[in-house]
Amino acid sequence: MRGVKMSEILSFWKGDERGNCFSKCENDFSICVPIATQLLHATGVATAFKLRKQKRVVVTSCGDGATSEGDFYEALNIAGVWQLPVVFVINNNQWAISLPLDAQTHAKTLAQKAIAAGISGEQVDGNDVVAVKFVVDRAIAKARVGNGPSVIEALTYRLGDHTTADDANGYRSQDKYGEVLQQAWKEEPLLRLRRYLFEKKYWSEAEEEQLKKRYHATIEMAVAEYLALPKPTITDLFDYHYATLPADLSEQRIEAEALFRLHEIGKE
């Protein structure tokens, strides 16, 4: 995500809301957990840009599963009707947790769902970094000059489990999907880009070693920054629901803080 600090991402995934308090991109939305709802936020932000006559464009992404949600269609529809400066990128990795794409939709492509909204849709090889950058740049440029929204379906394949709590073997057996997975690994976008750069001699082992060292240091620093963050306090529970704390919530805040203090004293 653009401009989000690595330490913020670490905070978020360690269960700390402060990870969403981006310091470098303060108007951008944070990770959206409910599926496809973010597409509508994107159309709202795009509407704000349009009303204010700003030459700005919104990019939002979702997975293949999200294209079955009502919010997906509602977002494409309003983006089309109002010709909003927004680019929808579908990361089609063929799997929505356990559901393969052919059980998700009878449509031949996801890009064609744009047709019903009267906007342009196209597919791109999602494992080709250069191609993805090309089509996204083109769609952004088109939106920026007022020529409306686009849908981009980036075709890829989910190589791992859905999450660390998921075991894909239960629904994606080696027998049935082994070959597909093998082929998908060959097209893994980072390895593929690396192969390309080596073949064209744009890149060398020495440069890669240097880059790895630099990234290692960056990650270590981000981890250190994340670890140095003081723990959230019990009053943080209450302090961000309203601009000013309502009286009834203030009572609960006082009660919770007093109980917490008592507990802490008990431990000492």
């Binding site: 809301e17 402060r18 969403n20 308090c21 981006f22 303060e26 108007n27 939305f29 944070s30 959206c32 409910p34 709802t37 597409l39 509508l40 936020h41 994107a42 159309t43 709202g44 932000v45 795009a46 509407t47 704000a48 840009f49 009303l51 009502g70 919010d71 509602e74 977002a75 529809n77 309003i78 009707v81 943080d236 961000y240 629901h241 309203y242 601009a243 309502p246 009286a247 009834d248 919530l249």
Partner: protein
Amino acid sequence: MTEITLIDAINQALHYEMHADKDVIVLGEDIGINGGVFRATRGLFEKFGAERVLDTPLAESMIAGLSIGMATQGLKPVAEFQFMGFSYPALDQIINHAARLRNRTRGRLHCPLVFRMPYGAGIHAPEHHSESTEAIFSHIPGLRVVVPSSPARAYGLLLAAIRDPDPVIFLEPTRLYRLNRQKVPDTGVALPLDQSFLLREGNDLTLISWGAMLRETLLAADALLQKGLSAEVIDVATLKPLDCDTLVFSLEKTGRCVIIHEAARFCGVGAEIAAQLSEKAFFSLKAPIQRVTGYDVTVPYAQLEKQYLPSVERIINVVDQTLGFA
């Protein structure tokens, strides 16, 4: 000054605030050229144009999600749902995002927006047009739920709702839209949110209500006066956050209390009020706190509507029981 209806007062507030603050955007189904199905937004399109008065496609989740996106960029959307019963497709956006964005981002993004919707029974409408499900919204941390009960309060509270930096669910009692007229000076003065209004002082018992049911509640209070008894009548106005202090203060004086709402009883806002009052004013109580509410049934179609809604008689019956405790 001419006297205006509650719907006129809503319209007047929208005109005032759109003129005063160019960030205010009005949107919804049929709200532009048509001026809204109840005419709450009439004249806005002509005056402020298609850029600030947005006729949307028919999609409630979209209206909510779009408003959230706009609000995070500093606009102040005032969106209309045509009826409360049609707001449910938007609950995902309202509960999961509008109510939470401030907390989720630790104050970085927030949603200064208003979702207006006509609510309540009593206009002989078809199904889904008579809902009173304010408890759903009142349960959600991060939301404000505001219900006006007169033209003046509709004007002042709507202005306050639009100016509030957090999301407000603004429930407009459909039955009151054109029932009474009142002088409402167009001064742009907002009424306070999070505060109940003492409509009538009294000594013998406290009647607590909101929205359209205040009409029957006040009529019941009139009937009591005939018997030489005075009821204190409170309009809760902001259901969430609840101004419990005003209610406790009154109960400490009267010792008796009846809560009246048209929503179904189970888990209704009346239950929350009764619970808080029993926690905070138990030793002032001379009688159990009682409720007069809609029954725990689906709001009926027009023919049985009168039987569903708490009547003046039902209120007086329960009031008599409450006063009967020695």
